[in-house]
Amino acid sequence: MAFVQNFPFFSIVLSMFAGTVSSVLPQKPAKYLNTAVICIVGTMSAVLLGFTLQTGESFTYMMGHFPAPWGNEIRAGVLEAAMALFFCIIMLLSLLGGRKKLLGEVEITKHNLYYILINLLLSSLLALIYTNDLFTAYVFVEINTISACGLIMIRENGRTIEAAVRYMIMSLLGSGLLLIGICMLYDLTGHLLMSNIREAVAQIVAEGTYSMPLLVTIALISVGLAIKSALFPFHSWLPDAYGYSTVSSAAILSSLVSKGYVFLLIKIFYRVIGFSIIRESKIIDVLFLFGLAGIIFGSLSAIKENDIRRMIAFSSVAQIGYIYMGIGLGTDVGMIASVFHIIAHAATKSLLFVAAIGLTDVSGGSRKFIDLTGAAYRNKVAGVAFTVGSLSMVGVPVFAGFISKFLFANAAVYNSGKMLPALVVLSISTILNAIYFMKTVIRIYTPAKTDYPCITWKQEKLYAVTMVLFMILNIILGMGSQPIVDLIQQGLSTFA
C-alpha cells in the first residue's frame, strides 16, 4: 500500500494534535502553527488528489488491527481529496482575511483557544469527509458542532452567546435525530461500516422486509443533517450566528461547517443507502420542496434585512436551499450540480463575508446600509471584491455562481416532473438575488460626504492579497469549471 494512502489519517490526526498543542502555546506561535497545519494538510490532500486521480479509484484505510466489518475505516477517493483540499484553501483564506479583525474582536489571551477550535474544526471536517464509519461520523459531527459553537461565542457579547445557544440547541436536535437514525440503521443491518451497511440494505430491499423502518431511518438521518446544515425552516439560529460572530468564524461556518454536513448527507445517500433506493423514497421530494422554499424565503428575508452581514447570512439560507434542490432532483446531474455549488458557494460566501467586513470597517464599524454609502471608494479592494461576489451570487457569467446556476438548470431539465418549479424558482431567485445584492453594490458605489477614513491596499496588504486570491479563485471556478465538474463526476461514480 502506497505511503500516500496514509495521508487522510495523517491530516486528521495532525490537525487534532495541533489543536491540543496550541492550548499551551501563546498567540503568535499558535497562529503560525495553525496556518502551517492548514497548509500541510492542504498539500497532503493535493498530493492525495493527484494520487487518486492517477489510480482512478478510491481506497479504504484500516485503522487499528481489526479488518472490516469490525474495525474502523477511512475511505479516500477523488472527491474526498478534492473536498479536503478545497476546504483547506477556503479556511486558510478566510482566516487570513479575518486576521486583523480577530485582533480587534477577541482579546489576545484567547487567541490560542481560537486556533484550537479552528484546528479541531478542521480535523472534524476532514474526518467527516474521509470516514467510512457511521458512528465515527456521528462523533465527529458532535466535535464539529462543539468547535463551531466555540467559534461563534469566542467573540464576547450577548448576541453571540445567545446565537451560540440557539445554534447548539438546533444542532443538538439534529444530531439527536442523526444518532437515533444511525442506531436504527445499525439495528437493521448490524453494521457500522458504510460499505457493509450498503450490502445489507440492498439485501433488505431485495427481500422487501423492513421497508418501513428503513424509510424512517433515512428520514431521521436526512432530517437530522438538514437541521444541522440550516435548511429552511431550521435556519432560525443562522442569521445571528453568522451575523455577529467574528468574521473568520462567520466565513468558515457559512462556507465549511454546514457544507460538511451536506457532504456527509450526500455520502450517506450514495455509500450507505444507495442512491437508487433514495430515489425511490419520497424523502428527496421533501428535501426538494424545502429547498425551493428555502431559496425563496431566504432571499425574501435577505431583501428585508438592513444589516449587510445578516443579509449575507440570509442569502446563505437561500444557497443551502439551492444545494438541497439539487439533491432533491434525484439525478446524478443534480447531485453534481449540488456538489459544485457546495464549492462555488463556499468560495463566494466566504469572499462576501470578508469583503463585507472590509466595507463595514471603513464605515465606522456600522453594518447598516445607510452608513455603507460610498464605502467602496473608501476601501477599493473590498468594494471590488464585494461586487465580484455579488455578481457571482446573481449568477453572471465568468463567475462561479453562473456555472452552478447553469448546472442546476441543466439538471432540472432532465427531471421532467420537477423541471418547471425548479427553473421558475431559479429565475425568481436570480431576480431576488439581483435585488438585494445589486442594491448593496449600487449603495456602496454611491459617493457620500463622510469623514470615515479611507484605506488603501498598502495599509492592509494581507487583506488585499486575500481578497485578490478569493477573486481569482472565484473566476477560476467560473471560467475553468470543466475539470472540476469532471472530477466531481468521477468522484461520485466511485462513491456508488
Partner: protein, 491 residues
C-alpha cells in the same frame, strides 16, 4: 479576413475604454481625440470585417462542457454590427460637446466606449450562450452610465434597470437551457435547432419556455409590462439615452429575440401555436400603450422614451409574424428606427444642452432660434409618423406587407395598431414641432434670446442622421434588398 479580428473589434473598445481614466491626459481635447480615434478605428475595422467576413467561427473561451464563447459573422451580425459601427463614432462626437456640462467625464467615456465592444459582442455571438454572456455584460457596463449623475432618481432608475434586466436575463436563461437540451446544437441556425425527436410530447412546455425567454429578452426591448425601466433610465445623459436606450441596448434586446425566434426555436416550430398568439398580442398591446403614454408625457426625453417603447414593439411585431417578410420588416424598422430615434433624441439633447429646458410646454418659439435643430427634429418626427418619402414609411410598409401576407387575424389587428400608433405619434411629435415653429400670438422672443444652434460637434451627427433618413426614405431599395437576403438566410 482573419477570424481573430472578431475578437479584436470586441476587445479593442473594452480595453481602450478601460484605459481612459488611467491615461494621463493634459487636456480634454486630447482625451476626446483618443476616444474618437479609438471608436473610429474600431468602426473601420468592423466594416472591414463585415464586408469580407471570415466564414469560420472563432472559439474564445471554453466554459463547462462543450459550451463555448464563440464568435461568427452571419447576416444578422452584419446588420446589427454595421448599424452599431455606423452610429457609435457620430454619437461619441456628439457626446464630447454634450458632456461638457456633466461631471466625471472620464468614467463616462470609459464605460461608453466599453459598451461599444460589448454590443458588438452581442452582434457577433455565434451561439446562444455567447449572446447571453454579452447580454449580461451589457447590463453591467451600461449600469454606470445610467447611474452617471448619481442623483437620487439616477440611483433608483439604475436599480430598476438592473433588476429588470437581470431578471429578464434569468428567464431568458431558461430558454438557453432548453435550446441546449432539446436542440441539436447551440449555434444559431436560421430555421431553428429544435430536435423533434428529443422534444417528443413536451411541445407545450417548450412553447411555455419560449414565451418565458421571449419576455426575458423582451425586458431589454421594453415590452409591456416590463417597460417601466426605460423612461426612468432617461435620467442618464442624453448620449446614453439616445445611443443606448434608443439603439444599442434596446435593439440588443430585439436582436436577441430575433435570434431566439428565428435561429433557436425556429419559426416552423412556433408559427400558429398559442405561444405566437401570446407574444403577438403582447407586442400589439405595447405598440399602442407606448404611444398613448408618450402623448400623456410632458418631459421631452421621457416622451421619446415611450415612443421608443412602442417602436421597439413594431420590430417585435415584425418578428412575431414569424415569416421571412416579417423578419425583413423587423430588420428594416430596426435599422431605420435607429436613425430616426437617435436623431430625435440628439435634437432633444441639443435643446436641453443649449436652453436647459426639459418640458414640452417650454419649447414655444424655439424653432426660430434653433432652426437647424428643429428642422432635423421635424424630419425625424415626420419619419417616425411614417410620412411617405421618409425612412419610417418604408419600414412600416414592409411590416404591414408582412402582416397582410401572413393572413393571421392578429396581424391584421397589428396593422391597425401600427396606424393608431402612427396617429398618436403624429399627436405627440407634431405638437412639439408646432409649438416650436408657431408659438402663440404675442409670444416675445426675448425670453429665449439666449437660445441658438449648437456647434458642429452636435450638428454634424444630426445632419448625417437627417440625410440618412431622407435618403433611405426616397431610395431604400438596396437596403431592403440586402435585408431580404439576410432574412432569407442567404448570408
Amino acid at each position: 479576413m482573419n477570424p481573430m479580428m472578431m475578437l479584436v473589434v470586441i476587445l479593442l473598445p473594452i480595453l481602450g475604454g478601460a484605459l481612459v481614466p488611467v491615461l494621463p491626459f493634459q487636456k480634454r481635447v486630447y482625451r476626446n481625440l483618443y476616444v474618437e480615434a479609438l471608436v473610429l478605428l474600431n468602426s473601420i475595422l468592423v466594416f472591414a470585417l463585415l464586408w469580407n467576413r471570415p466564414i469560420e467561427a472563432l472559439d474564445v473561451v471554453r466554459f463547462t462542457g462543450n459550451w463555448t464563447i464563440s464568435l461568427r459573422v452571419d447576416g444578422m451580425s452584419m446588420v446589427f454590427g454595421s448599424l452599431i459601427a455606423f452610429l457609435w463614432p457620430l454619437a461619441t462626437l456628439y457626446s464630447f460637446e454634450y458632456m461638457k456640462h456633466e461631471q466625471r467625464e472620464k468614467t463616462f467615456f470609459m464605460f461608453y466606449t466599453m459598451t461599444y465592444g460589448v454590443t458588438l459582442g452581442i452582434a457577433l455571438a455565434e451561439d446562444m450562450l455567447t449572446m447571453y454572456f454579452f447580454y449580461e455584460l451589457l447590463t453591467l457596463v451600461t449600469l454606470p452610465l445610467v447611474l452617471h449623475t448619481l442623483t437620487r432618481e439616477a440611483v433608483l432608475a439604475a436599480r430598476k434597470y438592473l433588476y429588470y434586466s437581470l431578471g429578464g436575463a434569468a428567464f431568458a436563461f431558461i430558454g438557453l437551457i432548453f435550446t441546449m437540451v432539446y436542440g441539436n446544437t447551440l449555434n444559431f441556425t436560421l430555421g431553428g435547432v429544435m430536435n423533434a425527436a428529443k422534444i417528443g410530447d413536451r411541445t407545450n412546455i417548450l412553447l411555455l419556455v419560449y414565451v418565458f425567454a421571449f419576455f426575458g429578452f423582451g425586458v431589454k426591448a421594453a415590452i409591456c409590462p416590463f417597460n417601466s425601466w426605460l423612461p426612468q433610465a432617461g435620467v442618464a445623459p442624453t448620449p446614453v439615452t439616445a445611443l443606448l436606450h434608443a439603439v444599442a441596448v434596446v435593439k440588443a434586446g430585439a436582436f436577441s429575440i430575433i435570434r431566439l425566434t428565428f435561429y433557436c426555436f425556429g419559426t416552423e416550430f412556433l408559427r400558429g401555436t398559442w405561444a405566437q398568439g401570446v407574444v403577438m398580442i403582447a407586442t400589439i398591446f405595447t405598440i399602442v400603450y407606448g404611444c398613448s403614454r408618450a402623448v400623456k408625457e410632458t418631459h421631452i426625453k421621457r416622451r421619446l422614451a415611450y415612443s421608443t417603447i412602442s417602436n421597439l414593439s413594431y420590430i417585435l411585431f415584425g418578428v412575431t409574424i414569424m415569416t421571412p417578410l416579417g423578419l425583413t420588416g423587423a430588420l428594416t424598422h430596426m435599422v431605420f428606427h435607429a436613425f430616426m430615434k437617435i436623431g430625435a433624441f440628439f435634437c432633444a439633447g441639443a435643446i436641453m444642452y443649449k436652453t436647459g429646458r426639459h418640458y414640452v410646454h417650454e419649447l414655444d418659439g424655439l424653432g426660430r432660434k434653433m432652426p437647424k435643430v428643429f428642422v432635423i427634429f421635424t424630419v425625424s418626427a415626420l419619419a417616425l409618423m411614417g410620412v411617405p418619402g421618409l425612412a419610417g414609411f418604408i419600414s412600416k410598409w414592409n411590416l404591414a406587407q408582412a402582416a397582410v401576407e401572413s393572413k393571421h387575424v392578429l396581424s391584421y389587428i397589428g396593422i391597425g395598431a401600427l396606424l393608431i400608433s402612427a396617429l398618436l405619434t403624429a399627436t405627440y411629435m407634431l405638437n412639439i414641432v408646432v409649438r416650436a415653429f408657431f408659438p402663440k400670438a404675442g409670444f416675445d422672443y426675448e425670453t429665449i434670446a439666449d437660445a441658438e444652434d449648437p456647434n458642429w460637434l452636435m450638428l454634424l451627427p444630426l445632419t448625417v442622421f437627417a440625410l440618412v433618413i431622407i435618403v433611405f426614405g426616397l431610395h431604400s431599395a438596396p437596403v431592403t434588398a440586402f435585408l431580404q437576403e439576410v432574412a432569407a438566410g442567404i448570408y
